[in-house]
């Protein structure tokens, strides 16, 4: 039985890998359209802000920020991250988070809020992970600084 399942898994992995390699031609904007393009990103950032506002641990980090400024910045940032037709011209991640001294637990909590927001606006699990992997590399520019 285990050998049979291995066989199935190998076939599945090969198919998935063929699928992804043909789609992933240099900097494809597929993900941008998968999550509903600019309108989808605006909806996501709105949902994210709603989640943050309700979270007692995370909200204090935003005490000094303007909601409008944050939304606009994050929409542009996300749009660029998923290879959409936008360019983020705001402050660097390091400039924004310096002095906040964000710990691992709070960082992970914000990741969870973003996942919940993506669920709120019906972004598929696969697209969620593709967004997270692009944001994950920014972690050293965000925590403990």
């Amino acid at each position: 039985m285990i050998k049979y399942v291995y066989g199935l898994l190998i076939v599945l992995v090969l198919q998935l890998c063929l699928g992804c390699s043909s789609k992933n031609v240099a900097q494809s904007d597929q993900l941008y359209y998968d999550i509903g393009a600019h309108q989808g990103i605006e909806k996501l950032v709105d949902a994210f802000v709603q989640r943050i506002v309700k979270d007692k641990a995370i909200l204090p980090y935003f005490a000094k920020s303007s909601v409008k400024h944050f939304k606009q910045g994050f929409i542009n940032h996300l749009c660029g991250v998923v290879n959409g037709p936008c360019k983020y011209n705001g402050d660097s991640m390091i400039d924004i988070h310096t002095g906040m001294n964000i710990n691992e637990a709070d960082f992970n909590r914000v990741v969870e809020l973003l996942i919940e927001a993506m669920e709120d606006v019906d972004i598929s699990y696969q697209s969620q992970n593709k967004i997270l992997v692009k944001l994950a590399v920014l972690r050293p520019e965000i925590i403990k600084i």
């Binding site: 039985m1 285990i2 399942v5 291995y6 898994l9 992995v13 998935l16 890998c17 699928g19 992804c20 710990n103 691992e104 637990a105 709070d106 992970n108 909590r109 990741v111 969870e112 996942i115 598929s124 699990y125 696969q126 697209s127 969620q128 992970n129 593709k130 997270l132 992997v133 994950a136 972690r139």
Partner: protein, 260 residues
């Protein structure tokens, strides 16, 4: 500071391993049990049962994770040997230290080193089969990494462990024997997260044959369900090969664990 350990993403710590360490079902992983991050402590407890053709393994234990750096673990295993109507028991104390990295975020895999100290309380059977000792200590090095979205958007987690051990059938048949007295064994786990609550995967664990009874490598395929950060249910199909010269030991494994 003691706070509710909640700082990790769902499912990323894995489950309770059969010898009590945080890991997969068979293999100790580089992750520490529970959801503790750098300033949290996590407590976990588990019970599991494995039913194969001629044996039933009942197992309970727990782990404490200090600050995602140090894991203490305990397990008590009772193995019923159906053809002989007897039970073999051992206790295992474990210690694991995270040396480097974060499963999800570091460039290189998370790396941990650990020991499992095993004391067999029913040593007669082991000695009669040729075992040299009724206690033994395994030492292992584990590397683990979660790749976000690797497989068409699905997260993939793998773990590789190298273990130095003298144990026969994990220690339930003692330690060392006429055919060997300590060797390095490799163990491997791979899983895919189908969504944030559900993982499917497989494990392979090489084992020595110190007693010359045809002791086989172990393998399984499993489904692990994480409804929330406090509860995990794991179901596995086991292929344990030959145990104590009894061939074709296949069957099912169920594990329940809780975390706080």
């Amino acid at each position: 500071m003691l706070s509710f350990a909640n700082g990790k993403l769902l499912a990323t710590p894995g489950v309770s391993q059969v010898e009590g360490s945080g890991g997969g079902g068979l293999v100790p992983w580089a992750q520490l049990a529970g959801y503790a991050t750098e300033d949290e402590i996590a407590f976990s407890a588990f019970c599991s049962q494995a039913n194969v053709k001629d044996f039933q393994l009942n197992n309970c234990g727990g782990q404490v994770n200090f600050y995602d750096r140090l894991e203490f673990s305990f397990a008590k295993q009772n193995l019923q040997v159906d053809p002989l109507s007897l039970t073999l028991s051992q206790e295992i104390l474990g210690l694991k230290v995270r040396l480097y990295g974060d499963l999800v975020y570091s460039t290189w895999p998370q790396l941990s080193v650990g020991i499992q100290h095993k004391s067999l309380s029913t040593a007669d059977v082991a000695f009669s089969l040729g075992a040299q000792d009724d206690t033994g200590t395994d030492i292992y090095l584990a590397a683990s990494k979660l790749h976000l979205g690797l497989l068409a958007g699905y997260n993939v987690l793998w773990n590789a462990t190298a273990r130095y051990t003298k144990a026969n059938e994990m220690g339930l048949l003692g330690f060392g024997g006429p055919q060997g007295n300590g060797a390095l064994q490799t163990e491997m786990s791979v899983l895919v997260l189908l969504n944030k609550h559900l993982a499917v995967g497989t494990e392979y664990r090489h084992k020595p044959d110190n007693l010359g009874l045809g002791e086989d490598d172990w393998q399984d395929i499993f489904v692990a369900w994480f409804p929330n950060k406090h509860l995990n249910v794991t179901l596995a199909y086991l292929d344990l090969g030959t145990i104590a010269a009894l061939t074709d030991q296949k069957g099912w494994y169920l594990s329940l664990s809780g975390s706080y």
